[in-house]
Symmetry: C2
Subunit: 252 residues, 2 copies
Amino acid sequence: MSEAAAPAPKPRAGRTATGRRRLRSALAVAALELFASQGYEATTVEDIVDAVGVGRRTFFRYFRSKEEVVFPDHDERLAEVVARLEAADPAEPPLAVVGATAEMVLEMYLAEPEISLKRFELTRAVPSLRDKEIASIDRYQRVFARYLRGRYCGEPHGDLRAAVGASAVVATHNHILRQWLKSAGSLDARAQLREALRLATASVHSPWGEQPAGSESAADERVVVGVVRTAASAETVRARVTGALAELSDDQ
Amino acid sequence: MSEAAAPAPKPRAGRTATGRRRLRSALAVAALELFASQGYEATTVEDIVDAVGVGRRTFFRYFRSKEEVVFPDHDERLAEVVARLEAADPAEPPLAVVGATAEMVLEMYLAEPEISLKRFELTRAVPSLRDKEIASIDRYQRVFARYLRGRYCGEPHGDLRAAVGASAVVATHNHILRQWLKSAGSLDARAQLREALRLATASVHSPWGEQPAGSESAADERVVVGVVRTAASAETVRARVTGALAELSDDQ
DNA sequence: TTGTTAGTGGCACTCAGTGCCGCTACGATT
DNA sequence: AATCGTAGCGGCACTGAGTGCCACTAACAA
């Protein structure tokens, strides 16, 4: 209260000494500390800038909003994801590309565990931040879906497959990430994600859609006999295989 | 401007005549009209209440925020979803229950096409509303995932399967809904959703996880011979079937 | 007629976010 | 070395969302 009584003589304590672009970092650090100690909503932007010793206006030069200080570099990360997808080998299976990109995103979280954990606690506690994170996750998913839509272009249910594939990858990524966060950085999340993606995206890898009654097949069509040993009934296996093999023609 | 010059004598034009709880509806209608005509952000809450002829304070008694007027009954709908899941027959396959619930949600949109379309346009144009909608959709997905987690409890990758299953259902629902909205209410979205759900959730219906090297099988194990006619190579079919039939023991 | 209560209006306030202007420190030019 | 341009910053004033509080009024009950 009383420390702000003299607006005329600016203290300017070590501002330029910290460097021009370190201000952003200093603001973020101070903000996260205050959020952790006294809560997100109870912390005003004025509290943050007072802790750093800069003007309130300066805060909004480095962050578009109070929420953005919690997710400082989401834009850059999304841009990396887009770049990665654009640079991907078109010979790779589409879902493998998306899965690998998801692994890259996971690596970003794993690279700075303490920040990821702080954010996790914050987003769990503050609804508005949770909503914000959901929205940014959705942006990843949209980018994934757009990529897959391009790769599945022309296929029977390409758009649907793209949407479901993207959502499966994102859901799997989030599941593994959440497990890792809850365990406070336990085991190899990378390997877990890879295995989980294998399970989750199994059905999306092969094309969907009803057989157009032997359209382009006929030529190189062959008869394949498979022998399966299982406890399930024959009818169950028939239904399962029928669903799984619905249109197995042009994908790898 | 000049119409607000006399604060003392309240006009009170037909307030009570419209009924006590119709005010909410009147506010929503006026808001949507203003949003459509002059844009969401350019419309202040004061504009809305002036159009209806009530005080600004009253608006916030009916809507928690300016955004909520666009999604007036999301809470009730989410409650309906929860109730439906809780009342579901435990004998039904879990994903069938969730799928049917998603169909119920779709029905809600289809029930009032003009409002759904207006909202669609608004959420497409205004980022903050889009984020809000994403967040509320995520709430559905969480409820779905929670339900599936309970049903898959104890199974190999139950939690992952629940997360992926829920996301697949939601992604499918959104895809069909979006198609319907883009076509301005064309054909039978119900049938499309049902078929799409069949495709999208095929792999999640059967349990996941690695075979425990013949644990409880042995007893009622049989040999099943399947004949498949396809254009794919034998190796492709083998890999596909192996993946699809990974653990086919207790689910129907 | 006299409480009682629910719904409302209005006022004042906090706080996020923005536009604008002035200041200052730094670098480049001559 | 003096000067100009500029980028970063502080501060002020403003808008608008959202909230707390209190007074008022209409309807209802005793």
